[in-house]
Symmetry: C2
Subunit: 107 residues, 2 copies
DNA sequence: ATATAATAGCGCTAATAAGAACATTTATGC
DNA sequence: GCATAAATGTTCTTATTAGCGCTATTATAT
């Protein structure tokens, strides 16, 4: 868990933070006001806005709810959006995957 | 932070977990294989797939990267997607928001 | 320009997630 | 159907985050 964060991941988290900050300011909320609505502290809001890797998922979700964008989270990895396994209907995706003897590396 | 999770938020996290599980299985990865790629433990993968509110944001981001869907995170709250304050260009969004004397509740 | 309030940074403590090892259930290949 | 191993559930320990108070910086309104 303490592996260095991959650069693209770090970049994505930072961008998400900036976007969260922009969304908040667009809605005329201070960090303190948002924190109160999220039921958390200002520090957590700040960590989220700076792209801190360790902040809990729930605060992102709660922030999205406050912003009225919670449905975006639903779409994030929705089957309809998943470009890789589009050929498989959800019902056809196996419940369990068997580890191949060799490497059958799909990815 | 220990406020009860709002129902819609809880629901969204659970759905995200299911979607993560589906995405993993579509790519023929076991929880153990994914955990190794994420540089974390199987427990964390499991918690993520069950929609545990406290899992760190970084694991979601890393999973998306493994799935080749990291760009989805960029789009999540991108300005272009933010339907509320579309009228304001990013550069026009104030750096700091002043708390109104009364309540000017934009949201 | 100045005053004020929002944002940023730091150290400490309490709460919580992450990790490991084990037992149990159950899908899947044979 | 049976055997295997993936997924689930549990408990305990450890590492990390969340929360709080204080100080410093800096954008904004006047």
């Amino acid at each position: 868990m303490n592996l260095p964060l991959p650069i693209p991941v770090d970049r994505a988290l930072k961008k998400l933070g900036v976007d969260l900050s922009l969304a908040r300011r667009r809605r005329n909320l201070t960090q303190a006001m948002l924190a109160e609505r999220l039921g958390t502290s200002v520090m957590t809001v700040r960590r989220m806005e700076t792209g801190h890797p360790g902040t809990a998922l729930q605060y992102l979700a709660r922030a999205l709810q406050v912003f009225g964008e919670l449905d975006k989270l639903d779409e994030l990895l929705d089957s309809a959006q998943d470009t890789v396994g589009l050929s498989l209907m959800n019902e056809q995706v196996p419940m369990r995957v068997r580890k191949p003897k060799q490497g059958s590396g799909v990815l």
